[in-house]
C-alpha cells in the first residue's frame, strides 16, 4: 500500500538528480583561496566567515556524532556537550605546557576521541537499557555532572579559566612547500586557512565513514533498533551491544570535535562552554536538518550555527553602526533572541515537519505512511 507511482520528471527534477555535493565541496575548497583576506565581507560583517566556517566544520562533526545516537539509533542524548568537553579537556591536558605530556595534535586527537568514546561506553553500558525518556535524563544529568566536575576539579582543569595555551599542530614538512604555492602561510595563529582545511578534511573523513556505516550491517541494525527494538531483537540483533556501539561512536566523534575545537581556540574554554544549552543547540541542528540524515544534519549545522556565530553578531553589529539601538535596549539585539529561535525551531519542527528539512528517505517514507495510516484510522 506504500508504493507510490513515480511522478513524471520535469527538467528541474532531473537537474535535482545530479549530485550536488561536488559543487558545495568545490565552493568550500576554493572560498578561502579566492576570498583572502576577506576584506569586503569583513568590513560589512566584522566577522571572518572563513574562521567561522572552521568552527561550523567542527560543530558539524559534533552534530554528526549526535546524529548517530539520536538520528540513527533513536536514543535521545541530551549531554553531547559533555563529551565535546571531555575531548577538549583531554586535548588540553595532553598538550598544554603546564602538563608534562605535550604529545601534540595527532596524539591528542586520537586520545580525545578514544577517551570520549570510553566515557560514553562507561555511561552507556548501565543506562542504555532504560527506556527512552529516562536515558534522556541520565545523559542530561551526566552532562551537568561533567560540567560541575570540570569546574570544581581546579587542580586538574584550572577551573573557570580553562587550560591554555594549546599549541597548534605541526605541519608535516612535505606540505609546507605546496601550501606556500597557494599563498598559505605556515602560521596557525595568523592564517586561519590551515585549520580550515584541517577541519574540513576531518569532516570529510567522518562523512565518508558514516556514509559507509549507514549502509553496513551495523548501520542497518541501528535503524532497526530505532524503528522497533523488540522486532529487531527478534531478528537476532543484540540490542544492548548495537545501541552501545552507536552511543560510543557518537561520543567518540564528539570527543574528536572537542579536540579540534580546543586546538582551534588554543584553549579548552571554560566549563560553561559545554553546558546543557550547547547540547540542545546541537540537538536542534540534527532535528532541524532531519534525524538520521547526513545531508540534513550538515544543513542544520550550517543554518543554526551559522545564525548563532555569523548572522546574529553581524546583524547586531549592523544595528549598532546604524545607531538603531542607542539606549542598548535588550529587545533590539539578535543575540538576545537566540534561545527563542532555537526553542521555536524545536517546537515548530516537531509540530509541522518532524522529519526535518532534508530528511533521509527512510524516515520520510515512514512518517508519511504513518500519517496516512492515522488519517485512515481517523476517517473510520
Amino acid at each position: 500500500m506504500n508504493k507510490r507511482q513515480p511522478a513524471p520528471r520535469s527538467l528541474t527534477a532531473q537537474l535535482d538528480r545530479l549530485p550536488q555535493w561536488p559543487l558545495y565541496l568545490g565552493i568550500l575548497l576554493l572560498y578561502p583561496l579566492l576570498v583572502y583576506p576577506e576584506k569586503v565581507l569583513f568590513q560589512w560583517t566584522e566577522i571572518s566567515v572563513g574562521m567561522q566556517l572552521t568552527y561550523i566544520f567542527i560543530y558539524a562533526i559534533l552534530a554528526l556524532g549526535l546524529n548517530v545516537v539520536v538520528g540513527y539509533t533513536g536514543i535521545l542524548h541530551l549531554g553531547i556537550a559533555a563529551f565535546f568537553g571531555i575531548g577538549a579537556y583531554i586535548t588540553g591536558i595532553l598538550t598544554v605546557p603546564a602538563y608534562p605530556f605535550g604529545i601534540g595534535f595527532v596524539g591528542s586527537l586520537i586520545c580525545a576521541s578514544l577517551g570520549a568514546a570510553l566515557a560514553g561506553l562507561l555511561l552507556g553500558a548501565p543506562t542504555l537499557r532504560l527506556r527512552g525518556d529516562y536515558v534522556a535524563i541520565v545523559t542530561l544529568g551526566f552532562g551537568e555532572v561533567t560540567r560541575f566536575s570540570l569546574r570544581n576539579l581546579e587542580e586538574i582543569t584550572a577551573g573557570m579559566r580553562g587550560l591554555n595555551p594549546i599549541p597548534p599542530p605541526t605541519l608535516p614538512a612535505f606540505l609546507a612547500t605546496p601550501l606556500s604555492w597557494l599563498g598559505i602561510q605556515n602560521d596557525w595563529a595568523l592564517d586561519y586557512r590551515l585549520f580550515y582545511y584541517l577541519a574540513l578534511g576531518l569532516l570529510l573523513v567522518v562523512i565518508l565513514l558514516l556514509r559507509n556505516l549507514e549502509r553496513s550491517r551495523l548501520g542497518r541494525a541501528w535503524v532497526a533498533i530505532r524503528e522497533d527494538e523488540l522486532a529487531a531483537t527478534c531478528m537476532g540483533i543484540n540490542a544492548a551491544r548495537v545501541k552501545l556501539s552507536a552511543f560510543a561512536l557518537g561520543c567518540g566523534l564528539a570527543g574528536m570535535a572537542g579536540c579540534l575545537y580546543a586546538t582551534a581556540l588554543t584553549s579548552t574554554a571554560g566549563p560553561d562552554a559545554f553546558d546543557f544549552s550547547r547540547s540542545v543547540i546541537m540537538l536542534c541542528c540534527v532535528i532541524l536538518g532531519g534525524l538520521g540524515s547526513l545531508r540534513g544534519t550538515l544543513l542544520g549545522v550550517l543554518l543554526l550555527i551559522g545564525f548563532d556565530n555569523v548572522a546574529a553578531p553581524a546583524l547586531d553589529g549592523f544595528l549598532q553602526r546604524a545607531n538603531i539601538n542607542p539606549d542598548d535596549n535588550p529587545w533590539l539585539t539578535f543575540s538576545n533572541w537566540k534561545l527563542m529561535c532555537f526553542g521555536l525551531a524545536l517546537i515548530l519542527m516537531m509540530r509541522f515537519r518532524p522529519e526535518g528539512l532534508l530528511p533521509s528517505r527512510q524516515v520520510e517514507a515512514e512518517l508519511h505512511s504513518e500519517a496516512q495510516l492515522h488519517r485512515e484510522g481517523a476517517s473510520i
Binding site: 543506562t127 532504560l130 534522556a136 555532572v145 570544581n152 534561545l339 526553542g343 524545536l346 518532524p354 492515522h374
Partner: protein
Amino acid sequence: MTPALLLAQTADIDAWQAFWQYALIGLTNGALIALVALGYTMVYGIIELINFAHGDVFMLGAFLALTLIGAMGLEQAGAVQLWLGIGLLFVVVPLFCAVLNVTIDRAVYKPLRNAPKLAPLVSAIGVSFVLMNVGLLWHGAADKHFPDLVSRQNLLGENAAIEFSYKDLLVIGMTVPIMIALTGFVKGTRLGKAMRATAQDPVAATLMGINADRVIAVTFAIGGALAGAASVIYGLYINTVGYQMGFTNGLYAFTAAVLGGIGNIPGAVLGGLVIGLARSFGSAYVGERWTSALVFVILIAILIFRPNGLLGARTREKV
C-alpha cells in the same frame, strides 16, 4: 541562601546541633523542591511527558512576583499592606502560572498526543528555551535581588541553638497545607478520581465517560499553580532570582519526582525532602560547590538501580 551562611553566626555550636540545623534547612528546601516536583510528577502520571518547561514556568512566576512587588511598592509598605500584598501574590502568581501551563499544553503538547514519545519531549525542551528567553528579556541576564520582605528573626529566641525564622515558617506553613489540600483533592473529589483513572488507563477512562482533555488541562493547571506558589515562596525565601533558575531548580525537582517514583504524588514529596536533605548535608559535609553534581549523581544512580523510585510500583514497562 547558603546553609553555610546561615550557620556562620552559630559557629560555636556542637556537631549535633549543626546536624539538626542542616536537617531543618534541608527539610525546608526540600518542601520547596517538592512543590515543584508535584507538577512534574502529576503531568507525567497523566500523559507520560517530562515537562521540561515546568521549571521555566516556575521561573516566570518568580519574575511576575518580582515585577508585582515593584509595582505595588511592597518594600516600603507597612505591615498590614505587606501581608495583604504577599497574600495577593499567592493568588495572582499561581493563577498566572496555571494559565500559562494550560496554554502551553493546548498550543504545543496537545497536537502531539499521538506522535512518537520523544516528539513532545523535544517540544518541551523547545518551550523551555522560549520561556527562558522571555525571562531573559523581562529581567535581564544577571541574577536579581528579590526583596527581603519576610523577617529573618529567629522564632526560637535570639540565642537558641537552632535557627528557625519567619522565613522557614512561611515555607512550612505554605507547603504543608498545599500538599494536604492536593492529596485531599486527588483522593476525595470526583475530578481527582477522574485524574487517577486517566493516569491508570486513558482509554478505559475515556470509555467510562471521562473527558481526558479536561483532566489533562486540570492537571496542567494544578501543576502550574503549584509551581507559581513555589516560585513566590522561593523568591521570599532565597531572595535571588534569575532567568536560569528554572532550569536548575526544575532539574532538582525532576530528580525528586524520579526519586520518589515518577507519577506518584506522595513519592514526589518524599523525593523533594530527600533531595533537600542531600543538598543541605552535601554542602555541609562534602562542599558547597559539589552539591549540584551530587544531586545529579543521585539521579543517575536511582535511574540505574531503581528506576521505579522509592515509592513507585514495579511495572514491567518502565525498564
